[in-house]
């Protein structure tokens, strides 16, 4: 596949113009300015305009800059890594499970330990759903158990066993100081240790979650900002079929 190189666009194709802002822990002045310029150069930027340099407290200088990238990104390479296909409808998914599985899949959801944010998890689970799209509860091919917030590891493990879960859906909103790494890694270890991992599809979601991150931590995939329930349902069904029909 032959595509053109990609650069940021401002008002001229290929201009590469971006905006940045950051603080350096230095007194405002010529040295700070040079340090800011050098920082931006190390980011492979050129035509740097430091449009704002303001002392925001003793020893702290805030900068706003515009600059141009000196490189391009190859669209062809990226496109290869991204699978694209038409999304499946709810009816289609229900039909698929009906014909190929012959029972409902059991979904268990929770937010872990200290995390009290439920809005995102509920958006994926509840009938009401998100952005007008019904949540997983609405899919007749699923039986859903939403344990809600602040679920301790042990209670979650019990629930997975009790409900004979096919799918685990974790939500993690707080990511400050890598809290999600800590919690999710520990949960993944426990799943292994308790021998629950093999028969479970494991999914993580949250505003700062990406598929890459989730996989790195030992989960099957991850969903980030603005996820719609349909995409999650589709992943679940396809992954289940893939595992059981290969």
């Amino acid at each position: 596949m032959q595509t053109k190189p990609i650069r940021p666009y401002y008002d001229t194709p290929g201009d590469g113009m971006i905006q940045l802002s950051f603080t350096l822990p230095m007194e405002a002045g010529a040295v700070a300015e040079q340090a800011a310029l050098e920082t931006l150069r190390r980011m492979n930027l050129t035509d740097i305009a430091l449009v704002e340099r303001r002392s925001i407290a003793p020893q702290f200088t805030f900068f706003v800059a515009y600059a141009r990238t000196t490189f391009s990104v190859d669209a062809a390479e990226i496109t290869e890594t991204v699978q694209r296909q038409a999304p499946r409808s709810e009816a289609e998914l229900v039909h698929l499970v009906g014909t190929h599985v012959g029972r409902t899949l059991v979904l268990v959801g929770a937010t872990l330990e200290s995390d009290a944010h439920t809005v995102g998890l509920d958006a994926i689970f509840n009938q009401k759903g998100y952005a007008g799209r019904p949540g997983l509860e609405h899919y007749s091919c699923f039986r859903t158990v939403n344990l809600g917030a602040q679920v301790p590891f042990q209670r979650l493990l019990e629930a997975l066993r009790r409900e004979q879960a096919d799918v685990l859906l974790l939500s993690q909103t707080i990511t400050q100081k890598g809290l999600h790494f800590k919690n999710l890694a520990q949960m993944a270890d426990l799943l292994e240790a308790e021998e629950l991992r093999a028969n479970l599809i494991t999914i993580v979601g949250g505003p700062n979650i990406t598929p890459e991150l989730a996989k790195e931590l030992g989960y099957d995939t991850g969903f980030g900002r603005g996820t719609l329930p349909g995409a999650v349902a589709e992943f679940i069904v396809e992954e289940f079929l893939r595992r059981h029909h290969e």
Partner: protein, 507 residues
């Protein structure tokens, strides 16, 4: 001047309904004590510190006396002290070593006296800090309102101090140190200076002291007193209130309903704790902040506006019942409507005015948009601007500043700078706008206010017809339902015996 024409009668009716609700709850709560109330009593008597494992001494004592906690801890303590003639330390050592067996029988005479003496000393410390605050504020006035309130949340108390001082220099008048996530679920208060928190820093006495000192320094530098705020809510409401009183905090979030709804804490536990906690805040001259803003994070501001107002009425009465004067009751409300809403700003303005008019002696705390912030930081900055505008026009007292990075992470140093710049610009550039405008009688603004007040009254009538517990069970607030016997911390609630004694009884 912008003024809404609302019925004084209706407001009175709401107040008296809320009073009924509060009285009923107070009656229920007065039958119980809790582990944290007893630990707080020990702290007020002067007990402090932890064992080698970091377990706080108050926890050790209360756990040791757990079986007969219905008697309270002050009674056994008094008995031991009176019988041995020793001091607090000695009595505590005895109780820890021997447990209930240390309690002498028959009762020595005048066993209440040594505890009453310690209690007086403890309260004395609190009132000295209160005086200290008054003197400092006299010398270094806080400055005009709305007071700009920002948070720091680095997780490391020393870094918090750096950010708090920077924020003060940037114009902040109140600094809140956010707690590490889940501290509200801990049934003890950690000890010492802490440097590892998640999305916040642990509330400990030492941390309070460190930040208070950093702010005292910068207050002197700036010639204005910079206030410090932290959180009581959670499983240790009264204990943290006591530590805040000792370390001269100026403002504390204090709301049992937050714990119930958002932290799944048992309602009897935390509402009982709240009375004691607020009593201490009141004594200490600390302004409390209630958490009505949170309701609009899970429920819709357009349709749930009256629940905020109803909760303000209830929280006002609950605070008064704890002995807090209006001047210290910082009721919460928020600017949380969907920015897509046509004329949404009018609803925000109406609501903010309504709160202001009804709670006219209260240092209302006005909370910025958070829920409808997304990664578009520019739009976020504008939303905060409109919020600041409403705050300024309607004369709120405490203005928590929104952050443009709200949807991404806890604020960084320049986010706070930008937020303060935003607020300062509005406060200066629109200073007298509110004075120069009037509200069209019978127009959209007034109609909205009237509607919210009406719905609020209806709701209060309903709640007064049942109990607050039942209302919470029915999912009245924040769209979240909680069972009276569910949630964390119920096992820490103990029915008082008739032998129960406590020198610090709020009422």
């Amino acid at each position: 001047m912008m003024r809404l024409r609302i019925e004084a009668k209706q407001v009175e009716r709401c107040r008296s309904l809320a009073q009924q609700i509060a009285t009923q709850l107070e009656r229920d709560s007065s039958l119980y004590t809790t582990v944290t109330i007893e630990r707080t009593s020990l702290r007020l008597l002067g007990l402090d510190g932890a064992d080698a494992h970091g377990v706080p001494l108050p926890n050790l004592v209360v756990d040791r006396l757990r079986e007969d906690l219905g008697d309270g801890v002050c009674r056994p303590l008094g008995l031991v002290m009176a019988s041995r003639g020793g001091d607090l330390k000695d009595a505590v050592a005895q109780l820890l070593e021997r447990g209930p067996a240390a309690i002498p029988s028959p009762e020595p005479e005048n066993w209440r006296a040594p505890v009453a003496e310690l209690a007086a000393a403890g309260l004395g410390r609190i009132s000295r800090q209160r005086q200290e605050r008054s003197q400092r504020m006299q010398r270094l006035p806080v400055g005009r309102s709305p007071w700009f309130y920002v948070i720091v949340a680095t997780g490391n108390v020393y870094e918090d101090a750096v950010q708090a001082q920077a924020a003060a220099r940037q114009g902040a008048q109140v600094i809140a140190v956010i707690r590490s996530t889940a501290q509200s679920l801990l049934d003890y208060v950690p000890e010492g200076a802490t440097t590892e928190g998640f999305a916040g820093t642990f509330a400990t006495r030492e941390n309070f002291r460190i930040i208070r000192q950093a702010l005292d320094e910068v207050s002197d530098e700036l010639g204005r007193y910079v206030m410090l705020c932290n959180y009581c809510s959670g499983l240790c409401m009264p204990e943290i209130a006591a530590l805040g009183a000792f370390e001269r905090l100026d403002m504390m979030l204090n709301d049992a309903l937050y714990g119930i709804l958002f932290r799944d804490i048992n309602m009897r536990r935390t509402l009982t704790d709240q009375f004691f906690s607020r009593w201490i805040n009141g004594l200490a001259g600390i302004i409390i902040n209630t958490g009505e803003d949170n309701y609009l994070k899970t429920d819709e501001g357009l349709t749930a506006a009256h629940t905020v107002l109803a909760s303000q009425f209830i929280n006002e009465q609950l605070a008064l019942a704890s002995g807090i004067p209006e001047e210290q009751i910082g009721l919460g409300h928020a600017f949380e409507l969907d920015p897509e809403l046509p004329d949404g700003f009018l609803c925000e303005l109406a609501q903010a005015l309504l709160s202001r008019q009804i709670f006219d002696r209260h240092p209302l705390k006005y909370m910025p948009p958070t829920r409808y912030k997304d990664g578009d930081i520019f739009m976020g900055y504008l939303q905060d601007g409109l919020f600041n505008l409403v705050s300024q026009m309607t004369g709120q007292q405490v203005q928590l500043l929104g952050m443009l990075s709200e949807a991404a992470q806890t604020p960084g140093i320049h986010d706070r700078y930008l937020a303060l710049q935003n607020a300062r610009y509005i406060r200066r550039n629109l200073e007298h706008l509110g004075e120069e405008l009037e509200i069209r009688p019978g127009g959209r603004l007034e109609q909205r206010a009237v509607q919210v007040l009406r719905e609020c009254q209806e709701l209060l009538e309903r709640i007064a017809g049942q109990t607050l517990y039942e209302a919470l069970e029915a999912g009245t607030f924040a769209g979240i339902a909680r069972p009276p016997e569910g949630g964390r911390g119920l096992d820490g609630v103990v029915r008082k015996t008739d032998r129960y004694w406590n020198p610090f009884s709020p009422s």
